[in-house]
């Protein structure tokens, strides 16, 4: 970790100005990922801009019936917020599937979007990594890639985005509110994170100095038929091997509207409109779900250790859609544990 200076920005505009005034500045929310990256010398900002005093922690209803999550609202406050629990339970469950209570108490919603991949090679300076050091090569390709991507990969990077929350935000079609040197703008959630292409060092489409100020959720929350299914190597405090955010609007047995997004499989939360289209207007049956799953995984590519994710994702999609339909939503497969044979 290098030496750095720190200022606590009093407001958003001041934060952006402060950022422009420094060469290698970084915004810091809860710091739950940035500090790790700094300790391992993966990130070496010389100046940190604290955001705690910028007044961005509120969660409030919008006139159009939606909900705005301030960028500095903590993951914990978001997951347990009455409006989120009631109107966007998919989001609440996704947030609670991530990290640990201690981390969720510190981590912010804006920071959640900004967290970086957990690729082993990205974190280890002894190995090449295009995301950390462009042009050095991708060690995960041909290496140990159990946690890596199967969709939207490139020759230069097969890292995944590690967030659970973002998978739900993608499914719910949130909007990212941004403030920067050129004023404010909004970014559709699906356009916020990038695929690696030949520039894997860029995780998202933010311009230099831009700051996330909030997340807007549309009025439609799919509060009845939803499921966030997360499959991982242990029951908590592990990143998703595959996670599925499924949300349905049903008219009897017929699917009127559908959302389907995956985590742990790509460089960004993977929402597939074509798969959603295969669901809409169809009966909510296993056959329908299997067709959607096949669509999502068409073109999926395994890299050896992670090839199992293709089949796992297929099964997870079917299970998540089934759970959404039957309203047996749960964050993992753990609900049975108190029953006896």
């Amino acid at each position: 970790m290098n030496s750095f200076t720190f200022t606590q920005a009093p407001a958003v505009a001041a934060a952006v100005q402060d950022n422009l005034a420094h060469e290698d500045a970084a915004y810091i929310g809860g710091g739950t990922n940035l500090l790790d990256l700094m300790k391992e010398n993966v990130a070496r900002p010389t100046h940190l801009i604290g955001l705690k005093k910028t007044g961005l922690a509120a969660i409030e209803s919008l006139p159009d019936g939606g909900l705005r999550l301030g960028a500095l609202a903590t993951n914990a406050d978001t997951a347990w917020h009455p409006d989120v629990e009631k109107r966007y339970p998919l989001l609440s469950q996704a947030v609670l599937a991530g990290a640990s209570p201690q981390l969720r108490n510190m981590a912010t919603d804006g920071g959640n979007l900004m967290q970086r991949t957990r690729c082993y090679y990205f974190y280890d300076l002894a190995t090449p990594c295009n995301k950390r050091e462009p042009g050095s090569g991708c060690s995960a390709i041909g290496g140990y890639n159990r946690i890596h991507a199967i969709l939207g990969t490139s020759e230069s990077c097969i890292a995944t985005h590690p967030s659970d929350m973002c998978v739900a935000l993608a499914a719910l079609a949130a909007t990212v509110r941004v403030s920067g040197p050129h004023g404010e703008r909004t970014i559709a959630f699906g356009d916020f994170h990038r695929l690696p292409g030949d520039a894997p060092e860029r995780d998202n489409t933010l311009e230099p100095g831009e700051l996330i100020t909030g997340l807007d959720l549309p009025a439609k929350g799919f509060e009845k038929n939803y499921s966030y299914l997360k499959l991982r190597d242990r029951t908590s405090y592990a990143f998703a091997l595959v996670s599925v955010a499924a949300a349905l609007e049903l008219d009897g047995d017929t699917i009127k509207d559908a959302r389907l997004a995956l985590g742990g499989v790509a460089h960004k939360p993977w929402r597939d409109p074509a798969a959603e289209a295969l669901l809409i207007g169809q009966p909510a049956t296993a056959d329908t779900f299997r067709r959607a799953a096949a669509q999502v995984l068409e073109g999926a590519q395994g890299y050896g250790h992670n090839t199992f994710k293709i089949e796992l994702a297929r099964r997870a999609i079917v299970r998540a859609l089934k759970q959404a339909t039957e309203m047996t939503q749960r964050t993992d497969d753990n609900a049975f544990l108190n029953s006896n044979p």
Binding site: R118, A238, R315
Partner: protein, 746 residues
Amino acid sequence: MTLQTDYIGKPTNRVDGPAKVLGTAKYAAEFNVPNLLYGYVVSSPITKGNITKIDAAPVLALPGVHRVFSHENVPSLAWFDRSYKDDVAPGGSPFRPLHSAEIKFSQQPVALVVADTFELARYAASILHIEYEEEAHETELAKHLDEAYQPGKGKTGYQPPKSRGNFGRGWAQGVAHMEGQYSHHAQHHNPMEMFASTVEWLGDKKLNVYDKTQGAFNSQQYIMKVFGLSKEQARVVSKYTGGGFGSGLRPQYQLFMAVLAALELERSVRVSLTRQQMFSFGHRPETLQHVALAAAADGSLTGINHVAVAETSQFEDFTENVVGWSGTLYDCKNVQLDYRLAKLDVFTPLDMRAPGAATGSIGLEIAMDEMAYAAGLDPLEFRIRNYSDFDQAQNLPYSSKNLRACYREGAAKFGWERRDPRPGSMRDGNLLVGWGMGGGIWDAQKQPAQAQASLDADGHLTVSSGSNDIGTGTYTIMTQIAAESLGLPLEAVTFVLGDTELPEAPVQGGSWTAASIGTAVQEACAALGEELLKQAQKMDHAAFKGVKIDDVQFANGQMRLRTDLTQAVVLRDLVQASGQPKIEAKNAKLPGLIDMVKPPKYSMHAHNAVFAEVKVDPDLGTVHVTRVVNAVAAGRIVNPKTARSQVLGSVVWGISMALMEESVMDHRFGRFMNHNYAEYHIPVNADIHDIDVIFVHEEDAEVNPLGIKGLGEVGLLGVAAAVCNAIYHATGKRVRDLPVTIDKLL
């Protein structure tokens, strides 16, 4: 008033609990001595080759940086390998930190940056420019099986496995057979507390060393030999250890570095490792096993063949007993065992909880399950039919063995008789239910140790021995043993450990501490009892005239005549009357060579039987271990509360071995890639469900006067195998490569 002074065998709270909860228990990196400097270790990014250049000038130019130590400027130290060999060193040539430009393993420490603050040292280390010349390395065990060799005796206590009978004939005699290959990858101990040493410079090369270790004397001997220090110059203190599991058995390199820096800079220095660097030294070695079993029509084993090949470093032969247990645990005339090592460009492996046995019991106990199926027998019934009542490997009777009770009581508690043996036959809703079992055997060992007991004029007893408490409950059980020995309430007894100025004790390992230090404490208290009797007799106490030690008992804070309990004297009064501040005594001198080479008369072992239930999602491959019953036969249980915690921890450890733990090496880099707590998975609370611990009754007058066999390791045995066997029962899939992760069950 009657005081409670009988404690052995009763659940007792940890006496060190309050200090740990209140934060007054200090660990090695928490001693903030004055004028402290901080060292940060620079680790090699390459696995094999040479350092060609170290450019320390820019780092030294930073204000507050004191020195960069590397092979280029380390002073001349001890020459011979024997000076670097610690009590637990295996055969070979121990690694010497900062000794030469040669790189022998990934993350090898190559430099130490010492600065005014930890943060500055860490930053300076991050910009230290080092150039390397890289050479091809070999880290893949499977590619070096042909070169594997049988190691010699090298390591203290290691015996090469002994075959007997004729396996080929036994195999031919069998009517049912099985063969299987089993493997697990490297695993790292990962105690919560990172390795650290705070070396306090007291002038004239006199050091107080606060070290994270499982053996203060082992660390002391090491730095004395390597740096040419006297005993007085090298005091090592280790009062609390935040987990050991074997990782602290050998002095780790941060100790060398901190002592080096303190001596060279004539300042106090602390060096602590990072979590990533906790993957830079010893580990449970990756081991490949082959087991073949044959059984007769009645289910009796006619042949056992167990072969294991494990990794070791290029410079030491790390050996452990992987296959030897297979010649003891079950009754069989024809046993063929082989254990080999292959040298790789890795750091030397290190004992890790139940070293060898945890590995071997995976092979043997999964194989026993496979054999039971091949023979058409229930896995428990199959084991009972092959029960060993006589140790055929040592040709000795057991001093005690109540594994039958483990089987019986464990199975009853678990409900084993309700098991439908057919794989995939049991369900809970959509989930597959599997019941599996396993078990194991571990040595009941005792090492020579010394202790001192001292009673002061307030009637407070202080007992000491330079052992360690790695969280196992040593403080508590020694306090219990001492209190009961001299009939004092727990509050009137303090047990002191972890200091080389105390009576000498062996490293805390091998599950021998309770037996070894417990015996020493009991002996020291008995010796003190004799002194107290002498004092009573000096006082012209008529009742004690001519009385022998066996004629008195200690209880209720008093010494009293067995024949007339009303004839009693308060212990405190004896000290006060002596005119001395205290009366003290030590146990007898350490046994001489003659005692050590006496042939054993008994085979002394602890045993266990484990029953596990898993629930498996047939579509998603997720596994949850919903119930475990672990029945243990380990002699007398001094403190059922801390003992239970030991076994609970063992069960969690076994579940971890079965389902999660793996240090994943990328062989292109020769480097463990998941070197942090986020990616090196161990269970979280939500992964752990019902665990029942049973201690079956077992009396043993032969192991030691207290009848203790030790508990730190035996509880782990068979747990991973039981889980794997349960997964087979649930799914019909036999996974032989651990850990059993989702992808292996899809």
